[in-house]
Symmetry: C2
Subunit: 466 residues, 2 copies
């Protein structure tokens, strides 16, 4: 029978030392998914999660092998009539390099100035441990109020190569009303919030080739096209003077933001000077006619991520190089199709290529559509009411400039929307040295997850009654 | 008394094995001036040359120390009333890397298919050994027809940092009517020629700075200026659609080539398709209104030699980098002043820098003015008549796209023009693996230098008599 929420909340509050010890064990496993030398550690992390879940006899637990790192899946269907939630998180982490920049060992949970430091503690180990601890607490006092699907992968940091196949193949087992992602991260540490959109992505690389070998720029300069000049011409042609992407067809499928959405952005407590100071940029810059948040969340972009060619060492070398390259990623919104955008950009690159050089355009195999959670999704309202209770503050709805390709996978394969319900925040130096997590957020997260499951069951029951 | 030219030519012809043995000894010394590990070898090369010169008792020989590698200077003033020539050459060489690309040991003179292979054999050891062997032959049979200044440096491959000071300081000892440079190289192997101009040079580097650290291009892309976009915009602004340098003031001091000069170029046996095939470029490209040779020799250029910024590894990384750089060299002609051109380019770079980033422009300390030997310089006519005799073909006058800063030094400090009288040719893979020299060019060079000195004395005498 359903556990009493207050009993569960009391239980969770009383186990702080135990929770911290569990988190310390989890972060001590260097589950660096990108490094083959850590493959066994990734497996140990999966085994640790699997063992933890198997300790709850009601859960139906399995390890799902892939060609690389395993995932762990658990199910419980003991709440007939109640909603089914799929909890998503990932147990792999980024490499800890550069090691010398850490103030404490990266794989040793260290408390300093009221923060917990460790590689992966924010992305995503603490945040994914929270729903496990909450499930354990519910089972100690009865049963959870919702049916559960727990899905933890170990390949998020390498682009989740096997997750889409797994989700599609196991769609029946994973069928749910909503996905609750323990991965994501809140916008701000001082303000509860929900991320309701993420941009899509597509990537390309171009290589401009001129002479078949590097030439002496004194002897040959001026007589043949310089690939570095050609590359600059091509890259410069990708944006107009108003900061818009100057690629024909790029904006197909992009909708003008509604006045309501723009008003929402305008109402957010965003201090542009503080933002610019934090990133160290001398000025804001972007597509004319939009503010910084709209540029980050609502508008598509084309960004060059790297360029190279010719001599890069100290001093000068009088070379006219054989080739030069640029790497590009586009962030997509609304109904932009990754493949169509890549086509449009590739066509533009070919057209913009000057005489005297040739161009090759490589397209990335992966692409992701933008994701938007409908404003009127009932889970959003439920989550907001929970955050209001836990933080005693009005939560904000924000967007995400980055991409979360799995949201599109869940939507397509399971028909389910994804609520980002993570208690990490965007300032916790994920992927960088001295990654940290806030203990008070850990406590808030435990309370919020317990309340959210309860609220979802309650709201669904109300809707059925109505 | 003056030696008989025929006797000297016979003498030189009869010593092929001895000359080859001397060259083999000289190239066996790995006098790599840029590598501190070879400092003693550079010194050994200087000692080898010094000893060779001291073996001629009439010569006044000294080693001139600098802060790095020594030069060797020799003088003979036994031809009163005859012209004084300053012979220039360099005994240092480029590093042999990549070693694995050599078909025979780089510091072992190896004959293969009628060519002599060794590092430095073409640049400049064989060519500088020639006038020494010629001087020795003259002294064996009497005395040379001209007064001699022999100046061999060991820092040419590192930019001759101490030569300008040495020449200025010893201007009285080096006073001469003309400089004969054993360094330079002929345009073509199948055609005798004289290089009568070299372009000047100035170098700059720019660095564009945006955010104070690398940012995630998903989260921040579109909201701040991307230094890679700014760099492309700046670099693309440096040329117009006609291939002209679009920098205000860049062409100050540049003269339109005379119809006569253009007619000279048009008369040269230049096969553009063969050239493009040799450099592997898909098409010729450059300043509109000029042909390939005019673009290489008569027109100034601005070439980007390297660009870099952001992620350069395999695959993609979603970074919006903190900064990006480009390295630039300009080749100058006519009366362009290196410092003024650098000023003009720097001003343009600052003006072209878009909002949202800052720019730093570094200027190289070194610059060189263009060098042109006057068309009517009597030494040119003398050299042409010698080449006509030695090669039994009409020599051509050509330009050089690269720069030879020492010519400006000799002109300024000694008031002397420089004739490039080298028997290397431009195709001998200098600075690359399997550098080679042509033995028949070595023989031609010995004959030509002996004849040139004789001709210069003869012509001067005729002028005095007239």
């Amino acid at each position: 029978m359903g556990a009493n929420l207050d009993a569960v909340l009391d239980d969770l509050q009383g186990r702080e030392a135990e929770h911290r010890a569990a988190l310390a064990e989890f972060v001590a496993i260097p589950s660096v998914s990108t490094d083959p030398a850590h493959a066994d550690d990734v497996r140990r992390a999966a085994a640790w999660i699997e063992a933890r879940l198997r300790a709850v006899p009601q859960l139906d637990v399995e390890r799902v092998e892939t060609d690389r790192h395993p995932a762990v899946l658990a199910r419980w269907d003991g709440a007939p009539g109640a909603p089914t939630v799929l909890v998503y998180g990932h147990m792999d982490v980024q490499p800890p390099d550069p090691l010398e920049a850490w103030d404490s060992p990266p794989f040793e949970l260290t408390e300093r100035d009221g923060r917990w430091y460790a590689r992966g503690v924010s992305d995503d180990k603490a945040s994914m441990l929270i729903p496990i601890l909450v499930a354990e607490a519910f089972f100690r006092h009865g049963t959870p109020p919702v049916n559960l699907r727990l899905l933890f992968e170990a390949e998020e940091e390498i682009g989740s190569p096997h997750l889409p196949h797994l989700v599609r193949q196991r769609a029946d087992d994973l069928a749910c009303d909503v996905v609750l992602s323990a991965d994501g991260g809140m916008w701000r540490a001082d303000l509860p919030g929900l991320t309701t959109s993420a941009r899509g992505m597509t990537a390309l690389e171009l290589r401009v080739r001129g002479p078949s070998k590097d030439l002496h720029s004194g002897r040959h300069g001026g007589a043949v096209q310089n690939p570095l000049h050609a590359l600059a011409t091509i890259v410069a042609s990708l944006h107009d003077d108003d900061g818009r992407v100057a690629v024909d067809g790029f904006y197909d499928g992009v909708h003008d933001p509604s006045d309501e959405r723009l008003a929402q952005l305008a109402a957010l407590p965003f201090d542009e000077d503080a933002y610019l100071s934090a990133v160290g940029a001398p000025a804001a810059y972007g597509e004319a006619g939009y503010g910084t948040l709209a540029r980050q969340w609502l508008r598509p972009t084309l960004e060059v991520n790297g360029v190279g060619g010719g001599y890069q060492g100290p001093g000068s070398k009088t070379v006219l190089p054989s080739d030069a390259f640029a790497k590009i990623t586009c962030r997509l919104v609304d109904d932009q199709e990754p493949a169509q955008v890549a086509d449009a950009v590739a066509s533009h690159l070919h057209r913009a290529c000057p005489v005297g050089v040739t161009i090759d355009v490589l397209r990335s195999e992966r692409g992701a559509q933008a994701y938007v959670m409908p404003d009127d999704h009932p889970v959003l309202a439920a989550a907001e009411s929970v955050l209001r209770e836990v933080f005693d503050a009005e939560p904000v709805r924000v967007g995400m400039g980055g991409s979360v390709p799995i949201t599109a996978t869940f939507k397509e394969a399971l028909g389910a929307d994804t609520l980002f319900f993570s208690f990490s925040t965007a300032d916790e130096d994920i992927h960088a040295p001295n990654e940290f997590y806030r203990p008070e957020r850990f406590r808030a997260g435990l309370s919020a997850w317990a309340r959210l499951w309860t609220r979802l069951a309650h709201d669904a029951h109300e809707r059925t009654e109505a």
